[in-house]
């Protein structure tokens, strides 16, 4: 299991932050994902054998946000 912290750019509402976390958590291989609306930080725990960081970033992009390391 790996844990990474990414910064999400352009988060406009707390609801959006929640959504990103909820959607990521439903991706296979993602064990936990939590977005802090205030700091814009995404803390994600995942199994690198199932999903890689690029996939996670792409999943965030599909929702209309950018995730930076």
């Amino acid at each position: 299991m790996e844990s990474k912290v990414l910064r999400i750019k352009d988060l406009a509402c707390p609801d959006c932050a929640n959504n990103i976390g909820q959607v990521l958590k439903k991706n296979k291989g993602v064990l936990n994902a939590e977005v802090s609306f205030m700091t814009g930080k995404l803390t994600v725990e995942y199994d690198p054998g199932v999903i890689n960081l690029d996939d996670i970033k792409k999943a965030v992009e599909r929702l209309g946000y950018e995730a930076e390391e």
């Binding site: 352009d10 509402c13 959504n19 959607v23 205030m38 209309g64």
Partner: protein, 607 residues
Amino acid sequence: MGKKEVRLVIPAAIIAVGWVSKYAGSRPAYDGAMLAASIILGYDVVKSAFASLRYGVISINLLVFIAALGGIYLGEYWEAAAVTFLFVFGSYLEARALGRTRNALGALVKEVPTEANVLRGGETVKIDVSEIKVGEIVVVKPGEKIPADGKVLKGRAAVDEAAITGESMPRLKKPGDSVYSTTLNTEGYLEIEAEKVGKNTLFSKIIHLVEEAQEKKANTQRFIERFSKYYTPAIIVISFVTYILTRNLRLSITFLVIACPGALVISTPVSIVSAIGNGAKNGIIVKGGSSLEKAGGIRMVAFDKTGTLTKGKPKVYGVKGLGIDDSEVLRIAASVETYSEHPLAKAIIRRAKEDNLRTFIPEDFQVVVGQGAKALYGGEAYYAGSRRLMESSGIEIGGHAMEYADAEQQKGSTVVYVAKDRVIGIITVRDELKEDAAGTISRLRNMGIKTYMLTGDNERVAGAVAAGLGLDGYFAGLLPDDKLSVINRLREKGKVAMVGDGINDAPALAAADMGIAIKGAADVTVETADMVVVSESIERVAYGIRLSRATLNNLRTNIAFSIFVVAALLLGVVRGSVFLATGMFFHEVSVLLVIFNGIRLMGYRMK
């Protein structure tokens, strides 16, 4: 112009073209332009909405999409274009405003120096900050930032410690003084022995604590977030039911727009993060939103005495020999206390050293907890300690000694009796009050807060100090456990904050409605505290409470305003005077106003 801006400007231009064509009399061109703008703007909204929906998560984007689609179905192309434009543009502005607040902390991190000059093999070498080793000698020239925590070995300098304490008045640093990473040497030259480097410096710890605090959610915020998980889907259901019942599509889709969780959800986190950022800039670490909520309602403040109201460095103030030389009294006292770790003992030993007195090494030694020490030398017993120690050792204190001691205690001094078979002298020790102690007490009183002092000192000393400061009350002769029960007793009358520094204050800090740890506090005390004052300045306690009150006011204004806007819009929808564009406009404006009001706290200053 970035990608996001282009995606806003193009549809905005198309909308403008649409309006021009309308006035030019071309209805189809107007409708066409609005439809085109809706589609361009809607593309990202739809994409995001479905990306969430795929995982069963209903987002605000979906609400906006349904509303716009409804507008198009009704042939209200302008409304559809306007609602999507305002939504995308509003989110863009909100993200930018919030981004600036988020960056405030990033700006703090950037203040850390990146390079350092160290002495290696007799030469000054420029190295990366991460390469400094503990114990190395760091050279700091004027205008440079100190790169590590440490002690001054050589040189004198005026150091601006604002990065840590928020106080920009430079302080003189001379050999033996402690200096901290990221503070600025404004003038002078320093050679420093590095004691803490990298992540272990005080500054790094502050940043870490503040970051942690910003992520911690306040109670109201947690509630709102849990609520919003069900809120958004519920809106869709309600809107659908409304349509079934009324067959009024216009009403149903407008409801979707104005019911978007907006200002109300955003109000709490923005105000709190701004307040935490303000605290960090001003030498106060607030441990999160709930701490601010608690601090705002404080009615009483209880202070630990030593190290909190006083400087915590007792000094020998007077030595009086009774029948023997003063210096002999000091020499005996220092010898008896040789192995004692008590602050009073340390003050006496320090003074004896300063006076170059040659102390003896006791043959036997015993500390009597809370009373003093006994020692054996040359077959004779010596004592140094409180009146209790004298009494329990069967030594009579003469009338003359008693009178002198009483007079000294009235002045706020602690009295140490020195005895052999009888009392041979009295040493008075005083722990000076911090310069800003009295000012802080009166400031708190003006805020309607009652102040108390908790101390292990005896009644008389405590009374003198309390009267001098203008405290509302004091509790003397307390053992560490007693502090806890005093706090519990005070809590029966209202919300209490406890301010302290020592490990022995930790239980009281935890028991109080709010714990405030002050600089130099032990790690446990910092852990249990809700607020940490980074400097010695006790006045920051008043600032912290003021800031918390301002935050609560700010929050309440935001919440009241948000509720008012939603209520007004709802009324407008029911009466049919608010449709998609107007609804979204007021919705977005209210969100922005709430954000700006919250951000204002970043600039809050105490008058």
